[in-house]
């Protein structure tokens, strides 16, 4: 269905840039898009990852009981309304994150489970991340195979780990061991990537065609370049050519896709001044992107490792990073738990929105799996064991209520990644350091 550009009041975003910013957008658009969503086949499966930096206060995070959960721990309380869709997994670890740059590797091992090569040169190397493996399969048919989102607008100087290129700490997603995917933090830019920057469907089609022909030429241009260079440099050009071919495929999909007939929505005007509003807006855009089936794979870096953001309004005027080095000081532990609870609550409202959004034969949440977690366990000592991990979404066959899966022995996070890939129909035998797969997710389907 095509909605004219006047279906929504113009400048929905421009009017109240205050606290009530995020909701009006979503509410205004749900009726428009849910009609579209009915057309989407029920078998669509989606996978998302949300990264929270610097681990957690385990005592406030880990539920007291195992198995079926009737009650959530203090840090996770906000998830109570969607408890049915929540699985808390504990005692997972990232062995390959133990490096001399623990903040960098917490971030980059989270989805790659790989050990970052210690370098600040252009020879950085990690591993293809789990979201990208999923995107190759389930992102094939959407205009945008995967979205990489963040909330940091400027790249800060001097806070990357010694000896590790900032690429490791800034980017969660890597489409190959040498290709980090930049995150987008500007809601307006993200919106334009999802829904275009206006104009009629015909005009957008014409634009896509022009982009296609420019890309054809880019390919020829790079092939020429390749001939001019030595063997070593050709490897790089081959990577460029792979990228160009990928963009070509995206354009072809966009040309085929209904998405080119999306409504002419109003774009977010700018970045909300309050971080929480910014986060909510980025979450809302994820709901829209999933609902419109513009993409099926999303990674969201809620905040960067070593973030020094303060949260005075929840009683934490101290910066996150020093608070995370709590030295078991009870006061700091309470504050770390508050930050954890705050981050989880932002995620919880997103999960609630997914649950409230109709999709196919159920809700959007039924057909979506999101993993929220960190690559660090106890941030005070930079360890990477007993990670905070939550899986939200999917449908449990015969399952009522959330669960807490606790492993006896430290178990690779890769085992969970393998299980999540299974759920979205991507079957691998092994993922980096996996030793099996988390089979307890079994009743879950998406």
């Amino acid at each position: 269905m095509i909605v004219g550009k006047n279906a929504l009041p113009r400048r929905t975003f421009l009017r109240g840039m205050g606290t009530a910013l995020a909701l009006p957008l979503l509410d205004a658009m749900v009726p428009v898009l849910s009609a579209r969503a009915q057309d989407v086949a029920a078998s669509v499966r989606r996978l998302g990852f949300v990264y929270i930096p610097m681990g957690m206060n385990a005592s406030a995070w880990i539920p007291a009981t195992e198995g079926r959960l009737t009650e959530l721990s203090p840090s996770l309380l906000s998830l109570t309304p969607v408890l049915d869709h929540i699985t808390v997994v504990t005692n997972l670890e990232l062995r390959n994150a133990y490096t001399t740059g623990n903040h960098a590797s917490s971030n980059c091992a989270f989805l790659s489970c790989s050990r970052a090569k210690r370098t600040e040169g252009s020879d950085y190397e990690l591993g293809t991340t789990v979201d990208q493996i999923a995107a190759r399969a389930i992102g094939r048919d959407t205009p945008i195979p995967s979205l990489e989102i963040g909330t940091d607008l400027i790249a800060q100087v001097g806070n990357c780990d010694n000896g590790y290129a900032c690429a490791y700490q800034n980017n969660l997603s890597w489409s190959s061991p040498t290709t980090p995917l930049p995150t987008e933090a500007d809601p307006r830019v993200l919106f334009e990537r999802l829904f275009g920057d206006g104009g009629s469907p015909e005009r957008r089609k014409a634009e896509l065609k022009k982009s296609g022909s420019i890309l054809d030429w880019m390919t020829a241009d790079m092939a020429r370049l390749r001939r001019e260079l030595g063997a070593g440099d050709r490897v790089r050009v081959d990577q460029y050519l792979d990228s160009v071919r990928e963009v070509e495929r995206r354009i072809q999909r966009a040309e085929r896709s209904d998405a080119s007939a999306l409504p002419d929505l109003d774009r977010p005007a700018s970045v909300p001044a309050v971080w929480e509003d910014h986060v909510k807006l980025m979450f809302d855009l994820q709901v829209l992107a999933l609902q419109a089936d513009t993409t099926r794979v999303i990674t969201f870096q809620l905040a960067r490792e070593t973030s020094t953001r303060t949260y005075p309004h929840i009683g934490v005027p101290e910066p996150h990073h020093p608070v995370s080095h709590h030295t078991n000081d009870p006061e700091k532990l309470v504050k770390l738990a508050k930050i954890n609870a705050h981050h989880v609550s932002l995620f919880a409202s997103f999960v609630e929105k997914l649950a409230a959004t109709p999709d196919g034969d159920g809700s959007l949440l039924d057909h979506t799996l999101y993993l929220l977690g960190s690559g660090m366990g106890n941030p005070d000592i930079h360890d990477h064991s007993n990670l905070p991990i939550i899986v939200a979404g999917g449908r449990g066959a015969g399952r009522t209520g959330g669960r807490h899966i606790r492993f006896e022995k430290p178990t690779p996070l890769a085992n969970l990644h393998l299980a999540l890939l299974d759920k979205v129909g991507v079957h691998l035998d092994q993922f980096v350091d996996s030793t099996g797969r988390v089979s307890d997710l079994e009743p879950l389907s998406v």
Partner: protein, 796 residues
């Protein structure tokens, strides 16, 4: 014994308690080096001071000095350069164990350096820059500005760049699909804006002012007699009708802040008044609450504007002082309804929407730049298009262009010309040029048939780009390009003249905003938000003033070609009234920045006393001696602390008897934990000496906790002192360290690659030569540009 070797590895030798162990433990006295028979003084000292930990068995820090030959440094130049660096910075031996006296230190360093430099001179290694450098955000912005005379908002066009070695132009040769998409989209938007093609629908551009901007007083750049407001430079895409809408700042109850009395709002374009809007408070019957919903609804105007850049200004005419004084409050900041509410209304946003009833773009700087010819007849179009495209491609590709280069852009021109006319054709050709790898990537090509691992001189055209991206963060201009294409740029006298010309050019501002902005972390200021309860005076005005002070100061070093040591010790700085009050400098009035003389040894002299540096190295609620110390070691001394060990063991909660330890006891444990202490004992003392500056750079006598400031500190060389002035003197005692660090930073940035151990002889040469020229800024730049590292490259 085994336990002690482990302790060496962990750096436990730093601890006072280990000194005794050291004394008892006699290090291996029988090194098995070839030089053993003829022990040089260097070898004797290494054996005496270093080999206890750095031997083949213990291999502390991966270094075994008994396996290295001090008489033939060429074989292990990389290891020896590391030794030199540690010794020059007096980082080793660690404090607390026997160290050589200064004369011995100097003798060892000088002897090793002389040998290393001799070897380097015999076999120069200019290093190999990456073949591919992608234009990053800053470079793309500047290139578009210089090629198309267009000021684009690059943060909306391209993703942010990842830094390596502290700079975002290093190691950025990758092109992910996302980046290609973004470059493609950018090419489309930029070409459309530059040519001024018709738009499909009116577009909206909204500028929202920082929420913590105080608008009670005059702001720099706005007309005198006004207060608050903003000037927005906006490029109007076409001649046409635009709607400009002004919104006022509201509190969280959606009421307009500071609306107690009627006030005028003035809208100007390019300084000319367009309209004055009165804004009146609209109290409801009870008088207790404002009914403000519609109060600023009428602040909009539809007017016709010509295409091109225009300054849209929104200001508030200043009211009489008497009225204002009645509401004055002690705080300098006014933006927060609870702590320091606005006294008068403030600007929230300016939105520019249009064009409605669009015309065409007639005369804009971009069109003047692009349309170097205007075809009088249809028959003349193709020839003109070729001229247009070849002129642009030459600047964009930064070299002479061939017919082959023009073939594809002209094909695009022809296709689009057939569909949409001449200008549509030109737009498509521009788009193709901007999507070309020759524009987006700086590519350095190995000469054909060059032998492997052989240094060669880069071409003059490549040298031109190296120069312009170093000094301007942009493409070469015509003069530079002409010299390069003529093959004359590498001639020393010409190169020297060009460097001096480029440093004097306004585009050299990039050294201030881009280089210094990253080196000194000024970029991070934008993300700084100090705790509003503790620092009620902090607002965006102060944040901007911090940045401006340091930028103007660094600019003065560049423009006046001053001794770079003035960066640490200058007796002047730049302030406006706001910053002067922050610093306690009297008799400075108004928003304009001006140079002020500081007394000798003023705590504000040099960057170590700048609010910018002091704030970006603090946390939101307190100072951090660790962050400040780390910053000094990395960016001033040039000896970054070693990385923390993987998997630091957890601290104990209880003592041996099971008693729970207090916070203070745990902190002591932290300092005495060798894994933590080995770094923190290097970093913390330098930062502690700056404790007289609070987390937003104010001078203070008491800490956050209310205790008297203890500003005693030290440097890794073992020097101890008190306060920032003590730190400054200690740093100036061995100026080569700072000058060497600045040289390395400039070189990293200029070459777009990390400075490696094999570059050390080059850096030393530059610093030595600069010394005879009073360490003038230009002597460092000329030294770098004249070096083999800058002019040459090694084949793979």
């Amino acid at each position: 014994m085994a336990a002690q070797w482990r302790m060496c590895v962990a750096g436990l030798a730093l601890m006072a308690t280990s000194v005794g162990l050291w004394a008892r433990e006699s290090p291996p006295q029988t090194p098995t080096t070839p030089s053993q028979t003829a022990r040089s003084p260097v070898r004797a000292n290494l054996d005496r001071y270093c080999i206890g930990c750095h031997n083949s068995k213990a291999k502390a820090g991966g270094l075994a000095l008994d396996a290295l030959d001090a008489t033939d440094v060429a074989g292990d130049a990389v290891a020896w350069e590391k030794v030199v660096r540690k010794l020059r910075g007096r980082m080793m031996p660690p404090a607390g164990v026997p160290r050589p006296d200064e004369a011995t230190y100097d003798a060892i360093v000088s002897s090793l350096e002389t040998s290393l430099d001799r070897e380097a001179a015999a076999r120069p290694n200019p290093g190999r820059t990456d073949t591919f450098h992608r234009l990053n955000r800053t470079e793309y912005h500047n290139a578009i500005r210089d090629i198309l005379a267009l000021d684009v908002d690059v943060s909306a066009l391209l993703p942010k760049d990842d830094a390596s070695h502290g700079f975002d132009n290093v190691s950025n040769g990758e092109l992910s699909p996302t980046l290609i998409e973004r470059y493609l989209a950018a090419a489309q938007k930029v070409s459309r804006a530059a040519v001024g093609s018709p738009l499909s629908s009116p577009a909206s551009h909204v500028v929202v002012l920082p929420s913590d901007l105080t608008q009670e007083d005059h702001l720099e750049g706005l007309p005198l007699g006004t207060r608050g407001g903003a000037v927005v430079r906006h490029t109007f895409p076409l001649d046409g009708t635009y709607e400009i809408q002004i919104r006022l700042s509201r509190d969280r109850n959606e009421n307009v802040e500071g609306l107690t009395d009627s006030q005028d709002v003035e809208l100007t374009i390019d300084g000319t008044r367009v309209q004055v809007f009165p804004v009146k408070p609209n109290r409801n019957q009870s008088g207790a609450y404002y009914a403000d919903e519609a109060v600023d609804r009428h602040l909009k105007v539809r007017m016709s504007v010509t295409a091109g850049p225009h300054d849209v200004g929104v200001t508030f005419p200043r009211k009489t002082f008497a009225l204002e004084e009645t509401e004055r409050q002690p705080a300098l900041a006014h933006f927060n309804m609870d702590r320091h509410p606005r006294v008068q209304i403030a600007l929230y946003s300016v939105s520019i929407t249009g064009p409605f009833e669009a015309g065409v773009a007639t005369d804009t700087p971009s069109r003047r730049r692009i349309f170097v010819c205007v075809p009088a007849t249809v028959a003349a179009e193709d020839a003109c298009a070729k001229r247009i495209v070849s002129t642009l491609a030459r600047r964009a590709f930064r070299r002479a262009v061939t017919d082959a280069d023009l073939e594809a852009p002209l094909r695009f021109y022809k296709e689009a010309r057939a569909e949409g006319g001449f200008e549509a054709g030109v737009e498509m050709a521009v788009r193709a040029v901007l999507a070309s790898t020759e524009f987006l990537l700086r590519i350095e090509r190995d000469p054909p048939n060059v032998a492997p691992h052989t240094p060669y001189r880069v071409s003059d055209v490549e040298l031109a780009s190296r120069l312009s991206f170093f000094l301007w963060s942009s493409v070469p201009d015509e003069e530079l390009l002409n010299l390069a294409i003529a093959g004359r740029l590498h001639q020393p006298s010409i190169l020297d003249r060009q460097v001096r010309r480029m440093l004097a050019d306004p585009r050299a501002e990039a050294l201030v905003t881009n280089f210094a902005g990253q080196w000194l972390y000024l970029r991070n200021l934008a993300a700084v938000s100090p705790d509003a309860r503790q620092f009620p005076d902090f607002d965006d005005n102060l944040r901007q003033s911090f940045r401006r002070e340091t930028e103007l100061f660094f600019e003065s070093i560049v423009k006046e070609d001053r001794n770079v040591l003035d960066l640490l010790r200058a007796d002047y700085t730049f302030v406006n009234e706001r910053l002067a009050r922050h610093y306690g400098i009297a008799n400075v009035y108004g928003s304009r920045f001006r140079r002020v003389a500081l007394g000798a040894n003023s705590e504000r002299g040099g960057i170590l006393g700048h609010g910018s540096v002091l704030t970006v190295t603090s946390y939101a609620n307190r100072t951090s001696p660790v962050l400040r110390g780390k910053w000094i070691l990395e960016n001033i001394v040039g000896s970054p602390p070693p990385p923390p060990l993987p998997n630091v063991p957890p601290l104990k909660d209880t003592d041996a008897q099971g008693r729970v330890l207090s916070m203070r006891e745990r902190m002591v444990q932290h300092r005495s934990n060798p894994a933590c202490a080995s770094c923190h004992q290097l970093m913390d003392p330098a930062g502690l000496s700056m404790e007289n500056f609070d987390a937003i750079g104010r001078w203070r006598a008491r800490t956050e906790a209310g205790t008297a400031v203890d500003a005693s500190g030290g440097l890794p060389d073992g020097s101890t002192f008190s306060g920032a002035s003590g730190l400054r003197s200690a740093l100036l005692r061995r100026p080569q360290l700072f000058v060497g660090t600045l040289t390395e930073k400039l070189m990293t940035y200029g070459l777009g690659r990390g400075v490696e151990p094999y570059d050390a002889p080059t850096v030393r040469t530059i610093v030595r030569n600069a010394q005879s020229q009073n360490y003038r800024f230009s002597s460092l730049v000329l030294g770098i540009v004249g070096s083999d590292a800058f002019q040459m490259r090694v084949s793979p």
